[in-house]
C-alpha cells in the first residue's frame, strides 16, 4: 500500500518510468531487439543521425533515442516528435513502426553471459552450460521472454509489413553505412553519403569504448555495474565458434534451428534438429504483411 501510494505520487508528477505503460503516439518509431543484439550501437548510430550539430554520447543518447524503462514519463511528454524509442519488449501490436535488430543467438548468449557478470547478476565462474540452458528457457531475462519467442513473435506478426524493418547485426557489421542508409530511409531521414560515413565513424566501437571510459559513472547504461568488465565488448560476430563448446551450440540449434536458418544463420550441425525438416520452416511463409497499414 505504501509503495503504491509512493508510486502514485510519482505518477502524479510524471516522474515515474513509464515502461510498457508508455503512451504510444501514432508517429512513434521503435528500435526493438532482444538484449545484447547490437541495440545500443544502432541506438547511437540513430542518435548521431538525429543530432547533426553535436555528436551523441552515452548521456545524450537517452534524450535522442529514449528508453521507457530508463527515462521518465515527463521526459517522454516533452520530446520533439516524431520520437525514436528504444525497446527490448516482446511483440507489442501497439508499436506503429519498428526497426527490429536480430543477432545470431550463439553470439547473443556469450555477450549476455559477460553482461550479466558485469551487472552482477551472475558470478565470474558461473557454469556456461547452465547459463545456456537457462538462456534457451528464457530465464536469463525473465522480462523479455526467450530469444526464440522474442524473434519469432515479431517476425510472425510483422515480417514483410512495410512498417517493419528487419536488421541483422551481422549485416550491420559487414556494411554499416549501407544498412544505416536503409534505417535512415525507414525513419524518413535522407543523409548525404558524407554524413553517413561521419555517423558511422562517430558510432564506431573504438569511439564507444572511449565514451564508455569517460562516462561509465554518469551514463544510466553502465552506472553502478562492474568496471572491470566492459559494456562495449568484442563488437564482432562469430565469437561463438571459439567460445561456445559444441555441445552448447547443438543445444541452441536444436531449440531454434529453423528460425536461425530463416534468418540466414548457418547451422554448425547440418543435421536438422529432430522432428523438424527445413521445408517445414514456418515463419517466413506466414507473412501477415497486409494485416494493417
Amino acid at each position: 500500500m505504501m509503495n503504491r501510494l509512493k508510486a502514485a505520487a510519482k505518477r502524479t508528477f510524471g516522474l515515474h518510468r513509464p515502461g510498457r505503460d508508455l503512451l504510444i503516439l501514432p508517429d512513434d518509431r521503435f528500435l526493438v531487439s532482444y538484449p545484447k543484439s547490437g541495440n545500443t550501437w544502432t541506438r547511437l548510430l540513430i542518435a548521431n543521425l538525429l543530432s547533426p550539430d553535436k555528436p551523441a554520447d552515452f548521456e545524450t543518447i537517452n534524450r535522442l533515442v529514449p528508453d521507457p524503462f530508463a527515462d521518465t514519463k515527463r521526459q517522454f511528454a516533452r520530446m520533439p516528435r516524431p520520437r525514436v524509442i528504444k525497446s527490448h519488449l516482446v511483440f507489442d501490436p501497439r508499436y506503429p513502426r519498428v526497426i527490429y535488430m536480430v543477432r545470431d543467438p550463439r553470439d547473443v548468449v556469450i555477450s549476455e553471459y559477460h553482461y550479466q557478470r558485469k551487472t552482477r547478476r551472475i558470478e565470474d565462474h558461473y557454469p556456461l552450460d547452465e547459463y545456456v540452458v537457462r538462456f534457451i528457457q528464457g530465464e536469463t531475462y525473465p522480462e523479455n521472454g526467450s530469444w526464440g519467442e522474442h524473434v519469432a513473435g515479431w517476425l510472425v506478426a510483422r515480417e514483410g509489413n512495410p512498417r517493419f524493418h528487419l536488421v541483422r547485426y551481422e549485416s550491420l557489421l559487414a556494411d554499416t553505412a549501407g544498412e544505416l542508409a536503409g534505417i535512415a530511409e525507414f525513419l524518413g531521414i535522407t543523409p548525404t553519403p558524407e554524413r553517413l560515413s561521419e555517423v558511422v565513424r562517430l558510432s564506431s566501437a573504438d569511439r564507444m569504448r572511449t565514451l564508455e571510459q569517460q562516462q561509465s559513472n554518469t551514463s544510466s547504461l553502465m552506472k553502478g555495474s562492474r568496471k572491470d568488465v566492459p559494456f562495449v565488448r568484442a563488437a564482432k560476430s562469430g565469437g561463438w565458434r571459439s567460445e561456445l563448446p559444441e555441445s552448447l551450440v547443438e543445444k541452441i540449434e536444436t531449440a531454434w534451428g529453423p528460425l536461425m536458418r530463416h534468418l540466414g544463420y548457418e547451422l554448425f550441425f547440418s543435421q536438422t534438429p529432430q522432428g523438424i525438416s527445413p521445408s517445414d520452416f514456418p515463419f517466413g511463409k506466414i507473412v501477415l504483411g497486409k494485416t494493417s497499414q
Binding site: 516482446v90 511483440f91 501490436p93 526464440g148 522474442h150 513473435g153 515463419f283 511463409k285 506466414i286
Partner: protein
Amino acid sequence: MSYRIKSLIKYALGTDVAGRSLTVRPDDTFLVSYPRSGNTWTRFLIANLLYPKEPVSFANIERLIPDCEALSSRYLKSLPSPRCIKSHEYFDHRYRKVLYIVRDPRDVALSYHSFQRKYRQIADDYPISQYVSDFVNGRLNSADWGTWAENVGSWLVREGQASFLLLRYEDMMADPAAELAKIAPFFHVEPSADLLAVAVERSSAVRMRELERKESSQWVATKNRRQDIPFVGTASSGGWKSRLPAESVAEIESAWGPLMQRLGYQLTTVAQEPVHHLVK
C-alpha cells in the same frame, strides 16, 4: 483531468484493471483467445468440469475463472493458487500454461460486429463491409489486443510445447467433450465420460442463453449494456457464408490467407497455397 485523478487513485488502491500489469504466477493457467472466439463458452466448460458441485453461472464465473481485463489487480491477487485466468492478450511470455482458442476470423468479424452494437461502440446501421475493413486494419477497439492475425500469430510461437494447447472453436463445436478431454490434464482432472457429458450439458448455448436472461445484471460484461442484443451469440460456425458480403470475405482472406489456411480454414476467394506447419 478528473479521469487522470481517478485513475491515479485507483492505481494507489490497487483497484485498477489488471490487464497486462497482472502479476503472473508460475502455476497460473491462462485461457486466451481473440475476443468473440468462444472464450466464455470454454470458460463455462472448464468451470463446470472443475466445479461439478457448484452451478456455474454468470453470477460466479468471475470468481471461478476470473477475467484479468475486467477485474482489479487487488482482486486477482486475493485469489488462491492455482488460478485459471481468462485473457485476450496478445503473446505474453510470462504466461506459462496457455489454452489458446482460435476461431475462423470471418465468423469472429460478424460476432464482433454484433457485440460492438451491444456495447454501443458502433451504430446499429454501421455498414458491415466498412466494419470488416476496420477489423482487418486494426481500427477497432479490439486493436488493443492486436489484429486477429497478430494475436493468433504471436501465440503460435508456442505451438508444439507441452504447456500450450491450441483449440479450434470449430472442433469444439463439432465434439465439445473430446476437446474438453484435452483440456482436463491442464487441471489434473481425470476426464471420465460422465464428467465431460455433464460439463458439456451445463455449458450448452441453450442453458447459457437462459442464464444470460436471468443474470445479465450480475455479470461485469453484460451489466448496464443493451439487453436487446444478447452476449451469447449464434454459437455456430460458418455464419459468414450467408451473412458476410463477398467483398468482406475477400478482404479477410487476402490479408490473412496463409495463416487461416494453416489453421484449417478453407479459403474461398484466393488461391490455396501449400500448408506449412510451425512445428511438426
